[in-house]
């Protein structure tokens, strides 16, 4: 596994961690604890992979990467079993589908890494331009999945539009006075 592919796996782990944290922030307490835990673990694992340049906890990482997909499957199954539709599950469909796609990518990358010897660490130094291009394309792919996923979470629906950061909040005040 090359330096670039390790780094792209780390970026995917950061992306899926962000989605799980955002979904967890607006979920019922039990699911929130699990998803925030997964999110923190995924962010930490991604950072560790970037810093150390090798897969951290290679045996535990694969089942842990796929555990949130299983959790989402259980959530949908429980929703259907209770008489609702899969779309009425506690976890939002769009963000969890995007996160699951990234989880499967991570799982595939981890399975591939188990079967291949690690490549030398100096690949980024040998061809920095090519390495940067790979990282930028990887980051754009991850951001392309993660940005709409984040927008579909509770945090996304309540987000302040970008152009209004740091602007006056006077317009947001209620126009009807409640009276004294």
């Amino acid at each position: 596994m090359t330096d670039s592919s390790r780094s792209v796996m780390a970026l995917a782990s950061l992306g899926v961690g962000l989605v799980h944290l955002a979904v967890g922030a607006g979920s019922p307490l039990f699911l929130a604890i699990l998803l925030v835990g997964f999110g923190i673990a995924e962010l930490g694992w991604g950072v560790a992979l970037l810093v150390r340049g090798r897969v951290v906890l290679p045996r535990a990482a694969l089942p842990l990467a796929l555990a949130p997909v299983a959790l989402w499957g259980l959530d949908i199954t429980a929703s259907v079993a209770l008489g609702g539709s899969g779309m009425a599950a506690s976890l939002p469909f769009g963000p969890m589908a995007a996160a699951s796609a990234l989880s499967f990518f991570l799982g595939a990358g981890l399975a591939f890494a188990r079967r291949r010897p690690p490549a030398p660490l100096a690949a980024s130094a040998a061809r920095p331009g090519r390495y940067l291009l790979g990282m930028t394309l990887g980051a754009m792919l991850v951001a392309g999945l993660v940005t709409p996923a984040l927008a579909g979470t509770n945090a996304g629906t309540a987000a302040v539009p970008h152009g209004e950061h740091g602007t006056s909040t006077l317009d947001d005040e209620p126009t009807v006075h409640s009276g004294h």
Partner: protein
């Protein structure tokens, strides 16, 4: 500079951020600092004067670090990427506030997220040996 991914990235991103900041002032010329919803840069990116200043400051930090040395570029790339992602994560738990900077589906959020993870990724992963060698040689000369 050509041999260091961090210096290359910091210099290119620094230049782009400064350009975006300057172009932003061109489209927000008649707009007040705090009384605006922002105008569109290149028809896509919402900016207001506060954003322009943030873009200029971040661009200047990246460009200076990129033109200086590997250690500075690596540090600034990592810090800018990490701070942006951490602010975004805090925003998930403080919905309805201006800290909620990641969870919107617009062109500028896509670019911000992509640039943040590239900066953090390259800052943490690349130039490890170069920085280690620089530290060691500095210690030997001291």
């Amino acid at each position: 500079m050509r041999n260091s991914p961090n210096r290359l990235l910091a210099t290119v991103f620094g230049g782009v951020y400064i350009l975006v900041g300057l172009l932003g002032f061109a489209v927000t010329g008649g707009v007040g600092f705090i009384a605006t919803e922002g105008n569109l840069l290149l028809g896509l990116f919402a900016v207001n004067p506060l954003h322009n200043i943030a873009h200029l400051l971040i661009g200047a930090a990246l460009l200076i670090a990129g033109l200086s040395n590997v250690a500075a570029a690596k540090s600034v790339n990592t810090v800018v990427g990490a701070v942006y992602l951490l602010l975004g994560i805090v925003g998930f738990f403080l919905v309805g506030t201006a800290l909620n900077i990641l969870a919107l589906n617009t062109a500028d959020h896509f670019l911000h997220l992509a640039s943040a993870i590239v900066l953090l990724g390259v800052g943490l992963a690349a130039d490890k040996n170069t920085v280690r060698n620089t530290d060691t040689s500095a210690r030997v000369h001291a």
